[in-house]
C-alpha cells in the first residue's frame, strides 16, 4: 500500500487505516540495519482512540461512539478553524497562516526538503503540502465559504474521519520548517501543522498528554514538567553539586535565588533527571569563569521548557510570562538559556512580542557566552582530551529559526581536534526526528515511528559524518546542544545498537568543554555510561 497514489477524496473514507508505510519502502541507511515491521496498535488503543491514520497514534482523539459525537467532532473543529482566522483569537499567527492559505502555487518545491518525505521513500502523506492542502480545502469551503471553492481550490469530503486523520497528521511533522525554507513564495506548511494542533488543543481540548497534562499544565502546577517543585529541584541540585565536585575534583556550589545576579541561567529541568552531567558541566564552567549567576526556584523559573511552542499559544504565553516574572523578581540583568532548543526560540524570539513592557528582560542563548568563555583564555583547556571524532547536531530551533550557527562551531573547533561537520548543517540542517516534542513520547508506536521514519535522516547524517571511522574500535561523540535532540539521539543509539557497534556516545557541548578543562579530572565524558 505504501507509495501507492493518494487521493484527497479518500481521506475521509470509511476505512480502518488510511496509510501504511511498508518498512521496505523506507530510505536506505548507511549500514546493515534491519527494517522491522510495525508493531500493530493494540485493540485497546484502536477502540479508545480514533487511530485511523496509519500505524501510530500520537494525538489521543477519543473515538466517537455515536452519530452525535461524530458531528460534535466536526463542528468543534470547524469552530476552531474559524477562530484561527479571527484577529482576536489568533493575532499571534494570523498573518502567516492566511498568506500560507492564499498564496501557495502547489508547485511541490518544498517536498524534497522534508526529511520525513525522504525517509518514507517519498510517500505522498508525508509531502509537506499534503496536510496543508486538506486544511486549505476545508478552509476555503467551510470557513471562507468561497462559493467557487470546489472549482478554484479543489474539493474535500468533511466528516469525522477527515477531522480525526487531519489531527493525527498534524503530528507527522517535526515543525522544523525546512520546507518553509525551500518555498520560493514564503509559504509555511510546518506552521499549518502547528495551527491544526492549536485547534485541537485550544478549541477541542485534545492534546498529547506529554505536552499538555504532563507537560505545560504540570509546569504551571509544580514549576516543571518533571514534576519537581522548587524545593525538590534544589535537593537534586545539591546531589549534583556534591557528586560532580567529588568526581571532577572541581568543587562548586550552585547558587540559588541570588538577587541582582548578572545572569539567571535556566536549564531544561529534564536534564537534571536524565543528564545531570550536563547541569554539572554548566555550573563548573560558570564558576570557573567567575560569572555572577544564579538559578531561580520560582515557579517555572528553573525549567526553560515551554511546550506551548508545539501546540498551544495560551500555554506558551503563560509559561513565558512565568519565566520572565522569575527573572524580574530576582532583578537579574539577563536570562541565559541552557541547552534546550525550543526553549531558546520560545523565550528569545517568540516571546519577544508577547511579553509586555513591565516583563521585558534581556534573553540570550548560552552559546555566545560559552564561546566567549572558551576563547577568552580564562579557563585552561587540553584539547587532546577530546581527541576523538566529534560531530555536531544543529537543533533547528537554534540554527534555522534563530541563526545561531558559529558560536558552537568555534567552541568545538577550539576543543575537538577531530571535529567534522554533518552534511548539510547550520541553517540547512536536518531535524533530529524528535522535534516538536516527540522525543519525550513513547506510547502507541511513537518511538517506533521516531526510529523508523522521523530520525532516519539524522541517523544517516551522523553515520555519514563518521564514515572514515565506522566500527566499534573508534570512540565517537555526537554533540547535540538540545535536550529534546539528545533524547532522540539517545533512543536511536539504543535502537540501532550504535554503542555496541559504533562506540557512539552523545551529549551536549558543555560536556566537551568540561572534558577538556585542565582543572577537572580527566574522563568527564564516559562512554560506558551511554551503553
Amino acid at each position: 500500500m505504501a507509495n501507492s497514489p493518494i487521493h484527497f477524496k479518500d481521506f475521509g473514507k470509511d476505512t480502518i487505516q488510511f496509510r501504511h508505510i511498508s518498512p521496505d519502502d523506507l530510505s536506505p541507511l548507511p549500514g546493515d540495519f534491519e527494517n522491522k515491521p510495525w508493531t500493530p496498535l493494540s485493540e485497546e488503543v484502536k477502540e479508545k482512540y480514533a487511530a485511523i491514520l496509519d500505524d501510530t497514534c500520537i494525538l489521543p482523539i477519543p473515538m466517537p461512539k455515536t452519530k452525535e459525537e461524530e458531528e460534535e467532532l466536526v463542528n468543534k473543529f470547524i469552530s476552531g478553524m474559524r477562530k484561527l482566522f479571527q484577529r482576536e483569537n489568533n493575532w499571534t499567527f494570523l498573518a502567516m497562516l492566511e498568506t500560507t492559505m492564499e498564496h501557495c502555487a502547489k508547485c511541490q518545491t518544498c517536498s524534497e526538503s522534508c526529511h520525513l518525505y525522504e525517509a518514507t521513500g517519498g510517500d505522498e502523506m508525508y509531502r509537506p503540502n499534503f496536510r496543508t492542502e486538506i486544511f486549505r480545502r476545508i478552509y476555503q469551503k467551510y470557513v471562507k465559504k468561497d462559493p467557487l471553492a470546489r472549482w478554484r481550490h479543489g474539493d474535500i469530503d468533511l466528516n469525522w474521519r477527515t477531522v480525526a486523520r487531519l489531527g493525527e497528521l498534524a503530528y507527522r511533522c517535526n515543525i522544523c520548517r525546512r520546507c518553509a525554507q525551500a518555498c520560493p513564495i514564503g509559504v509555511d506548511n510546518a506552521l499549518v501543522a502547528r495551527e491544526i494542533r492549536k485547534i485541537f488543543s485550544q478549541e477541542m481540548g485534545i492534546a498529547c498528554p506529554e505536552l499538555h497534562e504532563k507537560g505545560s499544565m504540570l509546569q504551571l502546577k509544580t514549576g516543571s514538567s518533571t514534576q519537581m517543585t522548587g524545593m525538590v529541584v534544589k535537593d537534586n541540585m545539591d546531589f549534583i553539586d556534591e557528586d560532580f565536585s567529588e568526581e571532577t575534583g572541581f568543587s562548586f556550589k550552585t547558587p540559588w535565588d541570588v538577587e541582582g545576579a548578572d545572569i539567571l541561567l535556566i536549564h531544561n529541568a529534564g536534564e537534571i533527571m536524565a543528564w545531570p552531567e550536563n547541569i554539572a558541566a554548566f555550573h563548573i564552567i560558570f564558576e570557573a569563569a567567575g560569572l555572577s549567576w544564579t538559578l531561580s526556584s520560582e515557579l517555572a523559573g528553573y525549567d526553560s521548557i515551554n511546550y506551548g511552542v508545539f501546540y498551544d499559544d495560551v500555554q506558551f504565553a503563560r509559561t513565558a510570562i512565568l519565566q520572565a516574572q522569575a527573572a524580574k523578581k530576582l532583578g537579574v540583568k539577563k536570562i541565559v538559556i541552557a541547552e534546550c532548543g525550543h526553549a531558546h526560540k520560545a523565550l528569545t524570539v517568540i516571546a519577544d512580542r508577547v511579553l509586555p513592557e513591565p516583563l521585558k528582560v534581556p534573553r540570550e542563548s548560552y552559546l555566545p557566552l560559552l564561546r566567549d568563555i572558551v576563547l577568552s583564555g580564562k579557563i585552561e583547556f587540553d584539547p587532546s582530551r577530546n581527541d576523538f571524532p566529534v560531530t555536531l547536531h544543529d537543533p533547528c530551533n537554534m540554527t534555522r529559526l534563530m541563526g545561531i550557527i558559529r558560536p558552537q562551531r568555534e567552541i568545538v573547533k577550539a576543543l575537538c581536534p577531530q571535529f567534522r561537520e554533518m552534511t548539510p548543517h547550520g541553517a540547512f540542517n536536518y531535524c533530529c526526528g524528535g522535534g516538536s516534542g516527540y522525543a519525550i513520547m513513547h506510547r502507541n508506536n511513537i518511538e517506533e515511528w521516531r526510529m523508523k521514519v522521523a530520525g532516519r535522516k539524522k541517523l544517516s547524517q551522523i553515520l555519514g559524518a563518521f564514515s572514515d571511522c565506522r566500527g566499534p574500535e573508534a570512540k565517537k561523540y555526537v554533540a547535540a546542544p538540545c535536550s529534546n535532540c539528545k533524547g532522540q539521539i539517545r533512543d536511536m543509539i539504543k535502537n540501532y545498537g550504535l554503542m555496541e557497534n559504533e562506540t557512539l556516545a552523545y551529549g551536549g557541548i558543555v560536556e566537551l568543554v568540561v572534558n577538556a578543562m585542565k582543572a577537572v579530572n580527566p574522563g568527564f565524558i564516559k562512554w560506558e555510561e551511554y551503553g
Binding site: 492564499e102 498564496h103 502546577k221 503563560r318 511579553l355 552559546l367 557566552l369 529559526l401 545561531i404 540547512f428
Partner: protein, 314 residues
C-alpha cells in the same frame, strides 16, 4: 461598440489596482504577529552568508545591528529574476516555470514600452522619424514583445502538461489551476497571432495605448487585436484575485515574516501594539482557556489554572 475594448482595459486596470491595494491593505491591517523568522536572513550584513544572526553575540541588545539593503537585493534580484529557489529545489519544474515567468516579465516590459511609445506619440513625438530614442523603443518593443509571448506560452503549455502528467501535481491541481494556465495560453496565443497577422510592428498597440491615455477612443481596425485587448484585460483583472497575487505579496511573506527579525528593543510602537493585542478578547473553548471571568489574552495568559486547582484543594 468601439469603446468596449477601451472601457474593458480601464476596468481591468481598476480591478487590478484595487485588488492589489486591497490585498496589501488587508495584510497591513493584520494585528501584530509574533516573530517567526527563518534563517538565512538576507539583510544581516555580516552573517547572512552562512545563515547567522545578531543572536550570536553576547548582550546582543547592546550592540548596533548592521542591516544591509544590498544583502536583500543580492538575494531577491536573482530570486525574482531567475527563480533561484525553484532552480535549487525543484530543477525539473524550473525548466518549465522559468520560461513562463520570464515571458511574463518580458510581456510586462513590452506593455511598458508600448505605453511609453504611445504616450510619446500622443505628445507629437514621431517614433518612426529615425531618432535614436524612437528607434530604440521600436526595436526593443519588436524584440521583447514576441519573445515574451513565445516564452510565456511555451512555459504555460509546459506547466499545463506537467500538472496533467505528474501525479504529485495533478492531485493538488484544481480546475482553477488549469483555467489560469489555459487563460495564459489563449492570451499569449492571441498576442502572437495579432503580432503575426495584424500588428507586426506594434503600431496598432501604441495607437491603442495613446488613445487610451489621451481619451481618444477611436475604433480598432482589427478583430484580432480587439480580441487580444479583451483577453488581456480579463487576464489583468484575474491575476491579483488568485494565488498568483504572490508576485507582490511575496514582499510581505519575505520581509515581514521570513526576515522579520526586528527585536523589540526600545520600540514604543511595538510595545503599544503588544498592549493592544493582549487586550483582544479570547473565545477559545477548551477548558484550560475558557475560564469564567477571564476574557482577554492578558487576563488568560496571566491566570494559572493549575495554581487555582491547588488552591481549591487546600
Amino acid at each position: 461598440m468601439s469603446v468596449i475594448p477601451y472601457l474593458l482595459t480601464c476596468l481591468a486596470l481598476a480591478v487590478f489596482i484595487v485588488s492589489v491595494a486591497a490585498r496589501i491593505k488587508r495584510y497591513l491591517n493584520k494585528p501584530l504577529h509574533v516573530r517567526w523568522e527563518l534563517y538565512p536572513v538576507a539583510h544581516d550584513a555580516e552573517r547572512a552568508s552562512y545563515g547567522g544572526s545578531y543572536l550570536e553575540d553576547v548582550d546582543w541588545w547592546k550592540k548596533p545591528r548592521k542591516k544591509s539593503m544590498m544583502g536583500e537585493l543580492s538575494f531577491m534580484v536573482p530570486e525574482i529574476l531567475l527563480l533561484r529557489g525553484v532552480w535549487e529545489n525543484n530543477r525539473s519544474l524550473w525548466y518549465r516555470s522559468y520560461p513562463f515567468h520570464l515571458g511574463l516579465y518580458l510581456t510586462a516590459a513590452f506593455m511598458g514600452l508600448v505605453f511609453l511609445g504611445g504616450v510619446l506619440e500622443l505628445f507629437g513625438f514621431n517614433l518612426g522619424s529615425g531618432s535614436v530614442i524612437g528607434s530604440i523603443i521600436i526595436a526593443l518593443t519588436n524584440v521583447i514583445g514576441p519573445a515574451g509571448f513565445l516564452l510565456a506560452i511555451c512555459g504555460a503549455v509546459a506547466l499545463f502538461h506537467r500538472r496533467i502528467s505528474d501525479s504529485s501535481l495533478r492531485e493538488y491541481s484544481s480546475f482553477g489551476h488549469f483555467f489560469s494556465l489555459a487563460l495564459f495560453i489563449v492570451v499569449m496565443a492571441t498576442a502572437i497571432a495579432t503580432w503575426l497577422f495584424a500588428d507586426p510592428g506594434f503600431a496598432m498597440a501604441r495607437s491603442f495605448a495613446a488613445g487610451l491615455v489621451g481619451m481618444k477612443w477611436s475604433p480598432i481596425p482589427s478583430h484580432l487585436f480587439t480580441a487580444q485587448i479583451v483577453l488581456g484585460a480579463i487576464l489583468l483583472a484575474y491575476i491579483p484575485i488568485t494565488h498568483m497575487s504572490h508576485f507582490f505579496m511575496k514582499y510581505f511573506l519575505w520581509h515581514d515574516i521570513r526576515w522579520g527579525d526586528e527585536p523589540n528593543i526600545d520600540k514604543p510602537a511595538t510595545d503599544r501594539k503588544i498592549g493592544e493585542v493582549l487586550n483582544y478578547p479570547v473565545t477559545w473553548s477548551a477548558p484550560h482557556i475558557a475560564i469564567s471571568g477571564k476574557k482577554t489574552w492578558a487576563e488568560i495568559a496571566t491566570h494559572n489554572p493549575m495554581a487555582e486547582t491547588e488552591n481549591t484543594k487546600e
